[in-house]
């Protein structure tokens, strides 16, 4: 779904990542446009997480370049902070601070915009709190704002994590297997919130996933990753069984979740 005429939000060229002798990514090229909902599909170990982490530099690539919103992502601390705050990330294990109230977790989303000192003293303005509540409301979690986070179920925690990412005011959302530890019904709910955010707020979403059925249901553009190489890049409607076996190297049925 290339929306020609628009500048790409993400341009990855010749990306390579080695961990010692393991090559996690070989020469990856990838371009994404604003508003896209793209699924990166691949079996466990294919390099999905590594690819995603190269985009916000939680992982330093061995070679190649990543351009986000027109400018090169580098090690420069100030520039990196600016990049990172416009890229929200959602993790498989939620990565919330479980002992904190839900609202505090969501408030941490604005840290990239705040000076260090007031943030370390945990001072947030009423305006910031209202914004955090609004983000929670987008995933229908506002009513749990003042509970301790570890009292929530897994699906609810992941929705809080989405709210935290939204509070960053991101233009790109990276979701790294956000539903891998949730059961299918809850997983669909969480994925549909991502879909809604993409459609209603126009935030570009990149979703890592290993289950074909979710990719078919939620993805518009699918990128198949196998052994660190992109083996497919196209519309979900052209995702045939042949292509699936090129991604999975076996019977794709094995990777259906239900």
């Amino acid at each position: 779904m290339t929306q020609s005429g628009q500048a790409p939000i993400l341009e990855i060229k010749g990306l390579r990542k080695e961990y010692g002798s393991t090559v996690a990514l070989h020469d990856v090229h990838l371009t994404a446009y604003p508003g896209e909902f793209t699924v990166i599909l691949g079996r466990s170990g294919a390099g999905k997480s590594t690819l995603m982490r190269c985009i916000n530099r939680l992982v330093t690539p061995t070679a190649g370049e990543v351009r986000f919103n027109g400018s090169l992502v580098t090690e420069n601390k100030r520039a990196l902070r600016l990049h990172r705050r416009s890229i929200g990330m959602i993790f498989q294990q939620f990565n919330l601070v479980k002992r904190l109230p839900v609202l505090k977790n969501v408030l941490t989303g604005v840290l990239g915009y705040k000076a260090t000192l007031p943030a370390v003293c945990q001072m947030f303005s009423r305006e910031e709190k209202l914004r955090a509540l609004e983000c929670l409301d987008r995933v229908d979690m506002a009513h749990k704002a003042f509970q301790r986070t570890d009292t929530l179920s897994g699906g609810e925690q992941q929705r809080v994590a989405i709210a935290r990412a939204l509070n960053q005011r991101p233009i790109l959302l990276l979701a790294d297997e956000p539903v891998a530890s949730l059961d299918p019904t809850i997983a669909r709910t969480v994925l549909s919130y991502l879909q809604k955010i993409n459609e209603e707020m126009g935030i570009t979403v990149l979703l890592n996933i290993h289950q074909v059925n979710y990719a078919r249901e939620f993805g518009r553009r699918i990128i198949g990753l196998a052994g660190g190489v992109i083996t497919f890049d196209g519309d979900v409607s052209s995702l045939t069984d042949d292509i699936l076996s090129s991604i999975y190297g076996g019977r794709p049925e094995d990777t259906y979740d239900e």
């Binding site: 209202l130 914004r131 009513h143 704002a145 209603e200 126009g202």
Partner: protein
């Protein structure tokens, strides 16, 4: 944001904003807010008051300290140059100090492990066991190694052995408490999983608890060994062996240059222990 259907979500929508405000204000009633504020002010006031009053009583005074600087500088300058010949004299007592610390720590660990297991709330077999273990640990910790040393010197006579016993008891009190706290903060998931397989108490400890607390265990033990080296250097003061006797006598006899050598050797010991400890920790953790 290019919203299509989510008009209700816009913060500029007054109704919506009012609803969010109501929700935010419902988190705490004004009374609760004032109470929290009052408690915070109270804590700060009490802290400042305690510090101020105790400073008056103990003559904490920056002016005194500043006035004392020349005397301190004079003391230090008399230590120079250190009397290196004295090294030969203190070599053997220094070795004895290390030996006291090794045995004092080792016995402390042996005694601390069962006490720590019994004093950890989440795995203690019974509340009575828990309470007794806590009480024993507190008593052991409450008595300084120097006091223990005095008692043991009069019981078993002069020499390194009473020093070892004194360190062992105090270390057991410290380590037992550390172990108990480390065990209380572990992830209960694996414990539950093993319990569900029908594993016994000791099996659960062996497979679910020990692997989780090993890094803390090593760190605490190394730390206590360091402290024991330092503590063993003053045990000589009460006749419980080691290099402390030479430290005290050189200070008493105003042999500044000998004092300097003893201090340098002690600092070296602590630095070497710290270095070895860091190596060990890097390997294990």
């Amino acid at each position: 944001m290019n919203e299509k259907s989510a008009a209700a979500h816009r913060a500029s929508d007054l109704d919506y904003r009012a609803r969010l405000e109501t929700l935010l204000d419902s988190a705490m009633t004004p009374a609760q807010k004032y109470r929290r504020f009052a408690i915070q002010i109270g804590i700060i006031a009490v802290t400042v008051a305690v510090l101020y009053i105790t400073a008056l009583h103990t003559n904490v005074s920056i002016a005194e300290l500043v006035r004392g600087i020349p005397a301190i500088a004079d003391y230090v300058s008399r230590m120079y140059p250190p009397d290196w010949g004295y090294t030969r004299v203190i070599l053997e007592p220094t070795l004895e100090t290390v030996e006291i610390a090794i045995w004092g720590t080792f016995l402390g660990i042996l005694l601390g492990i069962p006490l720590g297991l019994m004093a950890a709330r989440n795995i203690s077999p019974h509340v009575i066991v828990y309470a007794s273990a806590r009480f024993i640990l507190n008593s052991l910790r409450g008595v300084s190694e120097l006091v223990f040393a005095l008692i043991f010197v009069s019981a078993v006579g002069l020499g390194p052995f009473p020093g070892i016993l004194a360190l062992a008891l105090h270390n057991a009190g410290m380590l037992g408490k550390f172990y108990a706290e480390a065990i209380e903060t572990i992830d209960p998931g694996p414990m539950e999983a093993l319990e569900a397989t029908g594993a016994s108490w000791l099996q659960i400890i062996a497979f679910a608890i020990i692997p989780q607390v090993i890094p803390h265990f090593v760190t605490y033990n190394m730390y206590r060994f360091e402290v024991s080296i330092r503590a063993a250097t003053v045990l000589g003061l009460v006749g419980a062996g080691g290099v402390g006797f030479h430290l005290i006598s050189s200070i008493r006899l105003f042999d500044y240059r000998e004092t300097a050598v003893v201090l340098i050797v002690i600092i070296l010991l602590v630095v070497i222990t710290d270095y070895l400890g860091a190596l060990l920790r890097a390997k294990i953790i």
